[in-house]
């Protein structure tokens, strides 16, 4: 049984992400499971700031990927990305339903790609 290159990649990808996940999540138990000393204060602090920071970075990454394919300073001036992104944020503010926001904005984006 042989795997294609992308199948081999998925195997190591899954192993890497899975190993990092379980190792990182078990650190509190390994370090503080027996002793009653609390963890150093910078760890909860980093967890707190990196949660929004990493998602904000991924938003920039997604838009940067689109802009690398279709430069935002030429027609259609990033209109599909900006309109669909605005719809996702506004819908989420209004209805607080992640699935609705994602499906509606993705449908709008797919439509706009045909329009522009």
């Amino acid at each position: 049984m042989t795997f294609t290159p992308s199948e081999n990649y998925v195997l190591v990808l899954t192993a890497t992400a899975g190993a990092v996940t379980i190792l990182l999540r078990s650190v509190p138990f390994l370090l503080f499971g027996h002793a009653r000393r609390p963890p150093p204060a910078f760890i909860p602090y980093l967890g707190r700031v990196l949660a929004p920071a990493s998602i904000a970075m991924l938003v920039v990454y997604c838009f940067a990927t689109y802009f690398a394919e279709r430069p935002p300073l030429a027609y259609p001036y990033a209109a599909p990305e900006l309109l669909a992104g605005t719809l996702a944020v506004l819908l989420q503010f209004w209805r607080r339903n992640p699935l609705l926001s994602i499906i509606a904005s993705t449908a709008l984006y797919m439509l706009l790609l045909h329009v522009f």
Partner: protein
């Protein structure tokens, strides 16, 4: 107090998990469709089951699709998984006390399978710490885990059969991140500060290095930067009850 019977614990855990069933099935479905239409993997449903079973994370599942297309370096995979998982290590700290007497395998599974939704349900468990509570938490984790695998696998099956033009369907990942960021900023006013700092740093990295090479340098700058800014930011970053801030269903 009499020990609750096992079937009644299972029923309570299942009923509590029903909102997560709807959320994970549909969100996982979207990620599975994307995996099927965007990658050249043969036997996509198999890979969908494997990836979603090992990594129970909405953000990672969508990123996997992007990474499989681009074959990104494993260092990027490891660093991003680390940044996205730090929060769950924090939840683990909160679970240390209640789980002190649990067997090793139970601790390992609860920590590995932890999501925002499972954590929120565990904090609202109707049993005092003890064997019934442990059984309830294990079943919650198992049910949510199965819903997520089911959603992603069904999506991969459906995606392979999609009859229409799927160009642009990858916006689902962008929308997911926008939705998570919107919720974070709304539920936690402090989150604006690290979010704006990250937007500036990653914007500069995208301009200077390009989209394909921006992630690792951005994290490598952000972590020391946040540690330097800690004397300024830490007083504003009061500890928050984890899980309570994200009532919306999302892995």
């Amino acid at each position: 107090m009499p020990t609750p019977e096992k079937p009644s614990i299972a029923r309570a855990a299942f009923v509590a998990s029903l909102p997560v069933l709807m959320g994970y099935l549909s969100m996982g479905f979207a990620a599975g469709v994307l995996l099927a239409v965007k990658t050249d993997l043969p036997a996509t449903p198999f890979w969908a089951t494997l990836t979603s079973g090992v990594c129970i994370s909405g953000a990672l599942q969508f990123l996997f699709v992007d990474w499989i297309q681009k074959l990104v370096p494993l260092a990027t995979v490891a660093l991003l998984t680390l940044a996205l998982n730090l929060r769950y290590a924090m939840y683990g700290l909160a679970l240390l006390g209640p789980l002190r007497r649990a067997p090793f395998w139970a601790k390992a599974y609860l920590v590995w399978g932890l999501t925002d939704e499972t954590y929120a349900l565990e904090t609202a468990a109707p049993y005092p710490p003890g064997p019934a509570h442990l059984r309830y938490c294990l079943l919650l984790t198992l049910f949510d885990h199965l819903y997520w695998i089911g959603g992603v696998t069904l999506g991969a099956l459906a995606g392979a059969a999609l009859p229409f033009d799927t160009r642009g369907i990858d916006f689902a990942m962008t929308a997911l991140f926008l939705v998570i960021l919107t919720d974070q900023l709304r539920s936690d006013p402090f989150a604006r500060i690290p979010a704006v700092i990250a937007l500036v740093v990653s914007g500069l990295a995208a301009l200077g290095l390009g989209a394909s090479r921006m992630l690792v340098p951005t994290i490598a700058v952000l972590i020391p930067l946040f540690l330097l800014l800690r004397p300024l930011l830490a007083p504003a970053a009061r500890p928050q009850a984890p899980g309570k801030s994200t009532p919306e269903v999302r892995p």
